[in-house]
Amino acid sequence: MKVKLTMMWKDALESLVKSPATQRYPFVRLSAPDQLRSKLHWNLENCTGCGLCAKDCPADAIKIIVLDKKAKRFVFRYQVDHCTFCSQCVVSCRQDCLSMANNEWELAALNKDKFTVYYGHASDVESVMEDESDAENGEPAGV
């Protein structure tokens, strides 16, 4: 019994003078390790539109929207809320277009729209988003 109490007293006294073990988040953010797998990023430069990344994704989080293959007009739609952060797509892409950031782990949002990310040229992204919102609103997609 004595031993027990000594240990607890020691802990309790030490804790009185020690700074807290927790951090004052969000004022202080701990840095994540380099290897962290967080939000996916896509680089249009080398992409061939092969679609391997989308095919291999176990969570169906990726869609490659090809507007014009010859002119390399691709839009990469990434659904953060579907993603399991397995990095399979990064391995699958032969062109090294994909990478996972190691510091974007604060992915929670109040609005669901934030979970769908479009990468690509601004004008292409805009037209894709328009098409998708039309489809969502039930407008006939050119039938």
């Binding site: 240990m7 390790p33 290897q35 797998r37 176990p58 952060f85 397995c86």
Partner: protein, 413 residues
């Protein structure tokens, strides 16, 4: 629960017949629902209890509240794509699940695993065991009323999660083991971090023991509670600490070694009484033994590749892609259609922190498995709950549930 007051009972009494005794139907004993949302059921487990006063007459576990359909889902994905789902079954032992699935796959396609990867797998599996036991100890003690142990355990677990994050990039859903080895080599900071943990942890285990092992309250609440005899444990298919608590010497790491466990020196602690207390002692000792394995693994971690070179099943490293056309073809083939294993079936088992975790794979020669089934310890151990809890007080039931260490994600999959 006599059925006279419609506001209290709107279910079908007929359905209860056969589950509870005749006495419950006449209202002599009381039927009580425990869970599915109950902090002591370690997830979403519903127990239908028949109580005589405070004594448990019958206990009927009802599962399915956490059913994820993972097994079925795996049939629609290629072999390698499914690894990511195994993490999510037993979420306290993700690397153990990765391991059993990868081993089963490797058995099916006869794939080699380089020595370095083998040792890394063993090392991380044992750290995972400690991690799982820490959560178990913390929550089990909390259930019984020891609050501080919970805080201590989670403090130590944090260090382990940091190590997992360092190697795999994720704290819990690591998806780190892949067929033919591991995803990537461990970083340089890995060894110092693990060494640090090896020095840091043993005094902490002693602390837990100081707080609990001889504590009269703890003894009162655990000794002689939730007894299961060795024969019953074997009959019900128990494994892991639940089986060893009853004195049966069966540890798959010793009996049917995998991943090179035969090269490590460790003891298998055994209990004598088959009660909650013995199962507690075993898991505490297992943490020490796991640490022994970790230390040995770190000392003899060989150099070399961490993934097999068999290009039929394992994609080439990125560095080869720019140099060899062959590598490009392999890469493309593997990631477009996957590999085609031979037709057949395999069963592979490992010693997970909870007991025997088995993976049964059936291949029809297609890139997707025809059937995947997991034999999970949590599911089997739930079936002994009625036996263990019979004639105990309802307050002891939470201790008994804790002592078989179930994870409902592991049970419903």
């Amino acid at each position: 629960m006599t059925g006279s007051d419609d506001n209290l009972w709107q279910g079908d009494v007929e359905k209860l017949k056969g589950l509870v005794s005749e006495r419950a139907l006449t209202g002599e004993t009381m039927v009580l629902n425990m869970g599915p949302q109950h902090p002591s059921t370690h997830g979403v487990l519903r127990l239908l209890l028949e109580l005589d006063g405070e004594t448990v007459v019958t206990c009927v576990p009802d599962i399915g509240y956490l059913h994820t359909g993972i097994e079925k889902n795996m049939e629609s994905k290629r072999y390698e794509q499914s690894i990511v789902m195994t993490d999510r079954m037993d979420y306290l032992s993700p690397m153990g699940n990765n391991l059993v699935y990868c081993l089963a796959m490797e058995k099916l396609i006869d794939l080699d695993v380089p020595p370095r990867a083998q040792v890394i797998r063993v090392l991380l599996s044992e750290l995972t065991r400690i991690n799982s036991h820490l959560v178990w100890l913390g929550t089990h003690a909390l259930d019984i009323g020891a609050m501080s142990v919970f805080l201590y355990c989670f403090r130590e677990r944090e260090r382990l999660l940091d190590i997992f994050e360092m190697v795999s990039g994720q704290r819990m859903m690591s998806t780190y083991f892949r067929p033919g080895g591991v995803w990537r080599d461990v970083p340089a900071e890995f060894e110092p971090a693990v060494r640090d943990f090896i020095n840091y942890f043993p005094p902490r285990v002693d602390d837990y023991e100081k707080l609990l092992t001889n504590n009269p309250l703890w003894l009162d609440r655990t000794q002689g509670i939730g007894f299961i005899s060795a024969d019953d444990a074997i009959r019900y298919g128990c494994s892991g600490p639940t089986l060893r608590g009853s004195g049966v010497n069966w540890d798959i790491r010793k009996a049917l070694p995998y991943s090179g466990y035969e090269n490590f020196d460790f003891d298998v602690p055994l209990g004598q009484h088959g009660d909650v207390y013995d199962r507690y002692l075993i898991r505490i000792e297992e943490m020490r033994q796991s640490l022994r394995i970790v230390e040995q693994a770190l000392d003899k971690l060989p150099d070399g590749p961490v993934r097999s070179n068999n290009r039929k099943y394992v994609p080439p490293p990125r560095s080869e892609l720019g140099q060899s056309m062959e590598a490009v073809i392999h890469h493309f083939k593997l990631w477009t259609e996957g590999f085609r294993p031979p037709v057949g079936e395999v069963y592979q088992r490992i010693e997970s922190p909870r007991g025997e975790l088995g993976c049964y794979l059936v291949s029809d020669g297609e890139p997707k498995p025809w059937r995947v089934h997991f034999r999970t310890p949590s599911f089997i151990h739930l079936s002994v709950l009625p036996l263990m809890s019979k004639d105990h007080l309802i307050a002891d039931l939470v201790g008994i549930i804790g002592s078989v260490d179930i994870v409902l994600g592991d049970c419903d999959r």
